[in-house]
């Protein structure tokens, strides 16, 4: 760990405490100009806090950050950006309603005597987008109307507009399709060739191998290894470093589905008008995977089955009873549960306590004449969170403070409490680290084994194949394949998923 001339950023002994927790307990690593430095760690390991410290959103309590050899203390993100450090967050921080050019120069508008120089901004935005390989994005487009992948490009243009020398990317691939990820990697390679350094965070080890140069592993807010060569280091070693234990088989063993098992979910000719009529039958104990690209209609299918989206035709039956169309209440009463794609905006009451998030769908079972029994709620929630190993423990904690994996466990606990018959999971492991991921897989499998019918939507083909008994592939609003998971492999699924798609 010698500081060479090429060392852009050097972090030594950084500590960050929040009331009641030490989020970072001593972090050390160096970033060299022109490298892609990967940060690995489980959720809650301190990655997000570290990013915020580096980008000036939080001040460290102890330790030293050197930028180009000088000790720095960024008071706020703007100061960091002006020095050339820019973070691209998981939840993109763009203002929809404003144009691409306005977003790129937001906070550092090009102006003369208070009047913005719009044509200059447009011209420079066009140059930046061209440099990023996306000349087709118009600087005048409303950012809110762009695809997520394009929004990410705009975020990067924003970082580069300030002559960014270090880009911090927090799980950029989580919201992208495989081909969009390829484009992203192309951009990253061009940037690093120009001497820009990238701190890259991802839970997908394959990506780290493909794009990364060196890896730093965080565990419990500390650096446990740094400067590992990204292409050579062995996967079991990385997982052991992250978890402190050895994981061999990520996916739990499936049990053959009993052919005599009753049909629990029966969907016939369901459509919302945009996707073609879908037939779907899920037996007790069966896990059905829906594979497809973002925008292929897979999430729409799930939401329509749940009644959260108005059906234009078709029927949904649970245990042989037909559900009223477009009524989430009816679906929930019939025993359906949904873990939505956007955990934070659709799944959780972020500022409420863990136990309230768990009991929200089964309140009436804790109430007598409308009066809630708080103590019983807490007790049930405590049992559930303990069995799911939600960390940190404590059902009175505000959900916002939990990591992605633990938030997902809270949403799952909600439906466990209801003992639902049909569980619909939309991207159950997005933003969830490897350790918690296998815990969630095991939980889903255990639920299926206990007779629940499960439907999983995921962009991660490996996940769909590893978890599901049966796989449906959705493309452009149509189910193009339906068959057992062990009769199809990853490349075949990818082929089906992308066939005729932008190729």
């Amino acid at each position: 760990m010698t500081s060479t001339d090429a060392t852009l950023l050097s972090v030594r002994g950084v500590v960050k405490r929040f009331p009641g927790v030490t989020a970072l307990g001593g972090v050390d690593f160096d970033v060299r100009a022109g490298e892609v430095h990967c940060l690995l760690g489980q959720n809650g390991a301190g990655k997000s806090t570290l990013i915020k410290v580096l980008s000036g959103a939080h001040r460290p309590d102890e330790g030293e950050i050197r930028w180009r050899g000088e000790v720095v203390s960024f008071g706020n993100p703007t100061a960091a950006m002006r020095s050339g450090v820019a973070a691209i967050y998981q939840e993109l921080d763009l203002v929809s309603g404003l144009s691409v050019a306005d977003n790129v120069f937001l906070g550092h508008e090009l102006s003369t005597a208070g009047f913005t120089r719009r044509s200059d901004a447009r011209r420079r935005t066009r140059e930046l987008l061209k440099r990023l390989g996306h000349p087709e994005i118009s600087p005048d487009r409303d950012v809110g109307r762009l695809s997520v992948a394009h929004q990410q490009v705009v975020s990067m243009a924003r970082a580069l507009s300030l002559d960014g020398q270090l880009l911090i990317m927090d799980e950029p691939s989580a919201v992208l399709d495989p081909d969009e990820v390829r484009v992203l990697f192309g951009i990253i390679r061009e940037l690093t060739a120009q001497g820009v350094a990238v701190i890259y965070i991802s839970h997908r080890l394959a990506e780290i191998r493909e794009i990364g140069d060196r890896v730093t592993v965080l565990k419990d807010g500390r650096t446990v290894a740094t400067g590992l060569p990204a292409r050579e280091v062995k996967t079991p070693d990385l997982i052991a470093l992250m978890t402190g234990r050895v994981l061999d088989n990520v996916f739990p063993q499936r049990k053959p589905v009993d052919p005599a098992a009753p049909e629990v979910l029966r969907v016939r000719g369901l459509t919302d008008g945009d996707f073609d009529p879908v037939d779907l039958t899920v037996h007790a104990g069966e896990v059905v995977g829906l594979a497809g690209l973002v925008g292929s209609g897979r999430s729409e299918i799930l939401e329509t089955v749940y009644g959260a989206r108005k059906a234009a035709g078709g029927t949904v039956e649970v245990d042989g009873r037909k559900l009223r169309r477009g009524s989430v209440g009816a679906a929930v009463r019939a025993g359906m549960g949904l873990c939505p794609e956007e955990r934070k905006s659709q799944g959780l009451l972020l500022d409420e306590a863990v136990y309230r998030n768990i009991t929200v769908s089964s309140m009436s079972s804790f109430a007598r004449f409308g009066f809630l029994d708080d103590r019983a709620e807490r007790a049930r929630a405590t049992t559930l969170t303990e069995s799911l190993d939600v960390r940190p423990a404590g059902v009175d904690r505000v959900v916002r403070g939990l990591s992605g994996g633990n938030q997902q466990k809270v949403v799952l606990a909600r439906w466990l409490l209801r003992e639902c018959r049909v569980l619909l999971l939309d991207e159950p492991t997005r933003g969830v680290d490897v350790g918690a991921r296998s815990e969630i897989y095991e939980l889903v499998r255990a639920l299926a084994d206990s007779g629940v019918a499960v439907v999983v939507v995921s962009s991660d083909v490996e996940e769909v194949l590893g978890l599901a008994d049966r796989v449906l592939v959705v493309r452009e609003g149509r189910v193009v394949h339906d068959g057992p998971a062990d009769e199809i492999d990853e490349s075949r699924v990818l082929d089906l998923v992308m066939e005729g798609h932008a190729a």
């Binding site: 929040f18 009331p19 009641g20 929930v332 959780l348 306590a353």
Partner: protein, 343 residues
Amino acid sequence: MSEDTAAVPAQQTLKAPPAKESGIKALLGSAAGRNTGLVVALVLLCLGGVVTAGDRFADVDNVLTILRLAAVIGVVSVGMTFVITGGGIDLSVGAIVALSSVWATTLATQGIANDTHWIVIVFTALLVGGACGLVNGALIAYGRVVAFIATLASLAAARGLAEIISNRKTQIVNVPGFTAFFDASVLGVPVLVVIFAVVAAGGWVLLNRTTFGRRTFAVGGNPEAARLAGIDVRRHTVMLYTLLGLCCGLAAVMLIARTTTGSATHGGLYELDAIAAVVIGGTLLSGGRGTIAGTVFGVLIFTTLSNVFTLNNLSISAQAVAKGAIIVVAVLLQQRLARRSGA
């Protein structure tokens, strides 16, 4: 940036039930403790009253006057707390009070009341108020009209309707039983004040101890998550506005009793007074967090302020300036304390 700062106090736990703590600690940790800023403000105001007006302020009759004045706007504010906690807003409350008061005091209604029972007046006012709330709620939840606009429209329409019905005349109440009942006292406490206390206590229980209250927090905090969790958000929204409408109807009854009149000018600017009381009480205007105790303190502070100013012969305009200052100071203090209690 705001997202980031919001994440900082995330490790705090929600107010744990202080049930097992010692008496004093429990008290401080409860309503009064969380409303320290408001309590301090109220105490300072009372001290100011005693210093400047002496015995004229610190007099049982004067205190009862304050409470009687607070009672009417207080009932509206409790209802408003529910709507705001549920992520809404209602600008039409003053107009609903006016319409309810006028409808309940038409000659026809008074005639029926005299022929049967004075309770007819009460039911009429509640029915009119509840119906107005129902219309507001339906417009907002099912018509998808923004709450601000929908209730702005109701404000205009309800007040106009009140003027038409009353022909812009003040309607004197001449129902002896009605006046006698509401003028009475229970153990020295005026009936109006008792009603306010009951509404406030009931409101607290409803918000903090029932599924209805819990759903209100959920709907205000994250309507999409609430919907996907199986809560009927639209129906709940309608119920919230209807509840507020009923509160307005009840406030109208109390106002009729206090002034012995019904008038299209009743309840002027109640919407602003109620929203101000709710907000300085600590309820988030964006929804998801709300406190009945805070609202009650908010109402008491404003009413005491007017009383002290009136006793010192200061103008209404001076009161308005002080009111504005109090709103700002209270909100700033509240934020400071909230941040510290998070640590």
